[in-house]
Point group: C2
Chain length 305, copies 2
């Protein structure tokens, strides 16, 4: 592909997203592969990347920069965790080239921090989106900012003067998935009922006693005759609402603070609704653009550009 300079990859547990970028970081082509790290046999990451991904992206001659679970012990080569606080420069210095890649591939490290009540916390991939977001929003280079990245494992990140200093993970998305699929609350209905979502938000209260609040999703159907098809929407509102009511407080976020919500735009909208209900202001940002910008920023740092 003319002008192609680097293959940028966000290689997560369930999916691999790739972008061919030019020397200015513009996207020339993109593609998703159903080749999440959880689907890889041990040791086959390099071979499958070489035989499937690079050819499909016409990127056999391009260097690659990758973030996400591909840098874990389940992926290609371990890119060890960096401990908070972490800057973009630190992340670039922590890039790891797998021996099998002969210099053309670089894997971003994950980040480890002191999370809730001094417990350990970890991330792989969101740090790259965070630094991409900073690159796209240079007015946030100074000061303290709180960034929420919703998803299977939502990340709440604190950035201070351009460094990731602290973060907390909430398993909200995974709770939603397993309860919706495997529990007494299971339902195939789409979570698209705005009224039931709002009802769930209200039922989240202060976010405490979650195991008890969850049962209200059952009791409203069995005891109050609400339609079972509204359960997924109610459950979504309840879980996102409980996170919005509790996690910002753990980070010392004061009412009126502006939170940056970064990720899938549809999910960001639900989080914004929940956070606004808690008296927090929100701005939403596209996670894909941030991933591209972060990977490109790492590539530039690594190659001294």
């Amino acid at each position: 592909m003319p002008n192609a300079a680097v293959l940028a990859c966000d290689w997560g547990t369930t999916n691999l997203r790739t972008w061919t970028l030019d020397a200015g970081g513009e996207v020339l082509a993109s593609r998703d592969f159903e080749l999440g790290v959880s689907r890889l046999q041990p040791g086959e990451a390099a071979a499958r990347f070489q035989s499937e991904v690079r050819p499909a992206m016409e990127a056999l001659a391009l260097p690659a920069v990758l973030c996400g679970m591909i840098g874990s012990n389940l992926g290609w080569t371990v890119a060890p965790y960096l401990d908070c606080p972490v800057s973009l420069q630190d992340l670039a210095r922590g890039l790891v080239t797998p021996p099998s890649a002969e210099g053309w591939a670089r894997l971003a490290p994950g980040v480890r921090g002191e999370g809730l009540d001094g417990a350990s916390d970890v991330m792989r991939g969101e740090e790259t989106q965070l630094f991409g977001w900073l690159a796209l929003n240079p007015d946030r280079a100074r000061g303290r900012h709180v960034v929420c990245h919703p998803g299977t494992h939502a990340k709440w990140m604190v950035v201070e003067d351009g460094r990731l200093t602290h973060f907390i993970t909430a398993m909200t998305g995974e709770l939603f998935a397993v309860l919706r699929k495997h529990s007494v609350l299971k339902s195939d209905a789409a979570p698209d009922d705005a009224a039931a979502f709002a009802e769930g938000l209200a039922a989240a209260g202060d976010g405490g006693a979650l195991a008890a609040r969850l049962f209200t999703a059952r009791a409203r159907v069995v005891g109050r005759g609400k339609a079972a098809e509204t359960t997924p929407s109610y459950l979504s509102g309840l879980l996102i609402g409980a996170e919005a009511a509790s996690v910002p407080k753990l980070l010392g976020v004061e009412p009126g603070t502006k939170v940056a919500v970064l990720g899938d735009i549809g999910l960001c909208a639900l989080y914004s609704q929940a956070l606004q209900a808690q008296g927090l202001a929100c701005e939403t940002f596209d996670g894909e653009a941030a991933a591209v910008a972060g990977l490109f920023a790492l590539y530039r740092k690594a190659t001294g550009q």
Copy 2:
């Protein structure tokens, strides 16, 4: 069977427990059937009870009294919910005889109450154990008592002067089951590591921000090198600890209060440890004995004995 007077049944979602009782309520025989309500085809409860359960218990000539999900719309015949407050007398008046049983079977109603923050809450089966516990402990007939019944859906019940006035359900057991089996925290290891259970109890904190606390179960393995086999024990401690830290407060239980923990003795011991860590005193009571006593008490009330 000589002296047999009544077949008492606790017919729940996953299991059917039966006891043949004599005229004084003593257990002559008992048996569990893998015939939970969730395994019944619509409409077949009566036929399977007649063709499998009564013959196996040599109880073809005996009356039967049943509690649990068998009285729900998924069971035999609906025994409608009674609204709190509910006494043993109310429960006996609410017994329903299915048309197909020709008078020999009686199904206990469930109970509905105003649970968390005014939301609806429901139970089927635990109310019968509660009144059995009261029958076995006549010193609790007066005053206010708090009874915790741990399980898939833990019930926290308030009894005042012999009437069930208020209760809250916590889905703690179900959360444990689905997370252990279907989430990133999944593990086949037995939850029998006392140190990891205690570690989880401590990590439960005030029980808030549960989605975030749950991720500490992952991060302690990935980020701190704890053995993955200890995850089920840690998760058990975290979930039971979060319930113990939050639900009693919702019921206005003051530190130092004595809580009755009623149910499976092994599970009651874990709950006692969690509640004691919250400054609450505990007494544990066997749930099976309470179920038998409650079913027998209903039978006696219904037959005017």
